[in-house]
């Protein structure tokens, strides 16, 4: 028999005992709904986590240092230097080499220094760091007040909320963030700050030709062993204020003020690493204390880390933590999937039961069909089709039901979150693949359930079936 014929026959046969077949289908849909509800909760939670974590840049970033251990922790500090094999300088050629590695999106130096910023003639000391253009898509800068840097070398600055509060003279109450960033944006956006910093200049020459026009030479030169340090000023325009703390993972050394990367590089600001690299950093070539490497995909972090380690640098990534998190989600999926499937397994027993009943009832019909020329395969396919149609209907109804349950729970959670003062979150995600998978799964489970009844119907002896009243 042809498939459209089979589907048509199956539909009409199912209509014949509408109540029973509807109940069986309802059973399947409840099973599918529970599976969809469970899995979409898992997916929703994972999406929520990975969205937050991916935007934080934690999972696709490798921190490269010239030492085996980050920040010179551990034994190396006592040794007074790393072993010769590992003591490679993290300079511009090394950065370019890293950037050329496969799967590396970009490698940019970490420029980070403490400086004094003047606003309204009052000095404020803080940590300043440089941002690459790609940071624009970071969670912390996506929803901020104002805008991201207009260019990578613009004399512009983005402030973190707490520093902005400091500038306008508001001291935040402990524990509660009540200041609205929008209120801070009004008085600050477009205003100018003056940054005082120390420029490192190679000893042989006078002020570096690379220094921007705005920089003015000042007195108080510190003469080092092979280079000098010159005090300079730079005017910066406030373009943005971020509500969030983009460097929360750095703890106490996190920066509160951000500059465009190119600008920061051109300033040749004296950095803590310069002191340690005193002897080697004699040239004008910049030497970096660390380089951040962004990897195309969190899955490739390990590969990139290994490659960089081979080059003789120390690396650090949060990969191990993410691996643990992935394991947690995998276990969660399995757990939710098993519980969701249980209901579907119960429903599949319902299908077997319904079809076995149908065979008993329709014994004579099977006998007639065989007498007028139906083959075993035809009879088998008819019952198979009925199971399949119930599966598809149950699957579709189940997806709708599961989606509705998800919406209700989402709604309820958001009421709770709102009451607790958190922004609403989408805990529930029903991606298209889950819809397709749920319907296909229901269809396959139904077909498997139909195997035994269909086989039994096909084997029926027509002579006996026709005798049966």
């Amino acid at each position: 028999m042809k498939i459209p014929d089979l589907a048509e026959l199956a539909l009409r046969n199912l209509r014949e005992s509408l109540l029973r077949n509807s109940l069986t289908t309802l059973g399947i849909s409840v099973g599918v709904a529970s599976l969809v509800a469970m899995l979409s909760l898992g997916i929703g939670l994972q999406q929520l986590f990975s969205k937050r974590l991916a935007k934080s840049g934690l999972f696709d970033t490798v921190l490269v240092t010239s030492r085996r251990n980050l920040g010179g922790m551990g034994s190396e500090r006592n040794d007074g230097g790393p072993p010769p094999g590992e003591s490679r300088i993290l300079d511009e050629p090394a950065r370019q080499e890293i950037e050329r590695l496969p799967n590396v999106l970009e490698a940019y130096p970490d420029i980070r220094f403490v400086s004094e910023l003047r606003y309204d003639d009052k000095p404020h000391r803080t940590i300043i760091s440089a941002l690459p253009p790609s940071a624009k898509s970071n969670d912390a800068f996506e929803g901020m007040q104002g805008s991201f840097f207009s260019s990578d070398a613009a004399a512009e600055v983005i402030l973190q909320k707490t520093f902005a509060e400091e500038l306008v003279g508001k001291t935040p109450a402990r524990g509660i963030d009540e200041t609205n960033v929008a209120d801070l944006a009004k008085p600050l956006l477009g205003k100018e700050l003056t940054m005082l910093y120390s420029q490192r200049v190679a000893s042989a020459s006078a002020p570096s030709p690379l220094a921007p026009d705005a920089a003015t030479s000042a007195d108080g030169d510190i003469v080092g062993a092979s280079y000098s340090v010159v005090s300079r000023e730079q005017k910066l325009k406030i373009v943005g204020i971020s509500d969030q703390d983009p460097e929360s993972m750095r703890g106490p050394t996190r920066a509160k003020v951000f500059l465009p990367l190119k600008l920061a590089e051109s300033l040749h600001v004296m950095q803590p690493a310069d002191l340690r690299e005193l002897s080697r950093a004699a040239s004008d070539q910049p030497v970096y204390s660390s380089v951040s490497v962004r990897v195309k995909n969190p899955a490739q972090v390990q590969l990139v880390e290994d490659a960089i380690k081979k080059m003789g640098f120390g690396t650090f990534s949060i990969l191990d933590a993410s691996r643990g998190l992935q394991l947690v989600f995998r276990v969660l999926y399995a757990f939710l999937g098993v519980f969701g499937s249980l209901a579907l397994i119960v429903a599949s027993i319902g299908i077997v039961n319904t079809l076995v009943m149908a065979i008993l009832e329709r014994r004579r019909e099977i006998g007639i069909m065989k007498a007028i020329g139906a083959s075993d395969a035809d009879v088998k396919r008819i019952f198979f089709a009925e199971a399949g149609v119930m599966g598809i209907f149950g699957g579709v109804a189940g997806v709708v039901l599961g989606w509705a349950i998800g919406q209700v729970i989402n709604f309820g959670t958001n009421i709770y979150l709102k009451r607790e003062g958190f922004p609403p979150e989408h805990l529930w995600a029903v991606p298209l693949w889950l819809v397709a998978f749920a319907i296909l799964f229901a269809f396959l489970v139904s077909l498997v359930s139909g195997l035994y009844p269909a086989g039994r119907a096909a084997r029926l002896d027509p002579v006996q079936a026709l005798r049966y009243e």
């Binding site: 459209p4 014929d5 009409r12 007639i368 065989k370 007028i372 020329g373 075993d376």
Partner: protein, 256 residues
């Protein structure tokens, strides 16, 4: 059809539609062996209208089921239209039932949930005939048995005679060479029974269809059949119209 092995026709025997040789169908019921069909040898020529007569339990329906390919012989052979049914696979037997034989039953055996059109076109579905062609063929077949006006009715809305006519339309839809009828008038009053029998005779004469009818009504058989074959306890017995075969179980039964 092509998959069904065909015994090549023997010269001079081309007109034989059914040939059975020492046909047996035994089965066990508890400890006792039931010989439903016990060594039946018979021959039916193409285009013949034969009645199988016997009391209930004589094995006449069992013989019919063996010829119809619904059942398999325990031993012996039955060859229909040059096909040795005992040698066909289940699949081939289904094809044989679909294309070579048509069947009507005492209890009509229409499917209650389907309209007459759907019942009549059901064999065409198994034969994978296109939908459009199927519907016109079913309409034509129902017209032939005078049920055009009832096409969309369900069997339960029809009289017994009408149901049997619909069953006849279904049996003929695949244009079989052989029509097997198991007590076709058993559930009908004598008037409608006569109507059905007239129709069978018409098919036999006009379409040249071979008909084997099982009945226990001798009068009916005498009136319509060209030849009568008698069965008792699974064996061929004395046929009053053909004395040479009487009591001789080994001789091919009922040569006219």
């Amino acid at each position: 059809m092509t998959a069904v092995p065909v015994v090549p026709p023997v010269r001079g025997a081309a007109a034989i539609a059914i040939h059975s040789e020492n046909l047996c169908r035994h089965y066990r019921m508890g400890d006792t062996l039931i010989r439903a069909v016990d060594g039946v040898s018979l021959e039916v020529r193409a285009g013949e209208f034969v009645a199988l007569l016997g009391s209930s339990g004589s094995g006449k329906s069992s013989v019919l089921n063996l010829i119809a390919g619904l059942d398999r012989p325990t031993s012996g052979s039955v060859v229909v239209q040059y096909r040795d049914l005992a040698k066909l696979s289940r699949e081939e037997l289904a094809k044989y039932r679909l294309h070579v034989v048509g069947m009507v039953f005492q209890s009509f055996n229409l499917i209650a949930s389907m309209t007459l059109t759907e019942n009549v076109e059901l064999p065409l579905r198994f034969a994978e005939v296109d939908r459009g062609q199927r519907q016109s063929m079913a309409r034509e077949a129902l017209e032939r048995v005078g049920l055009r006006a009832r096409m969309h009715h369900r069997p339960s809305e029809l009289s017994g005679g009408e149901q049997q006519r619909a069953a006849l339309a279904r049996a003929l839809i695949n244009r079989p060479q052989l029509l097997l009828a198991d007590e076709p008038t058993g559930n009908l009053d004598s008037h409608t029974g006569t109507e059905i029998m007239d129709m069978l005779r018409q098919f036999n004469r006009e379409l040249g269809m071979t008909i084997v009818m099982v009945t226990h009504e001798r009068a009916l058989a005498e009136r319509y059949a060209q030849r009568m074959i008698f069965l008792a306890d699974g064996k061929l017995v004395d046929d009053p119209t053909n004395t040479p075969a009487a009591g001789n179980a080994n001789a091919p039964g009922g040569r006219p």
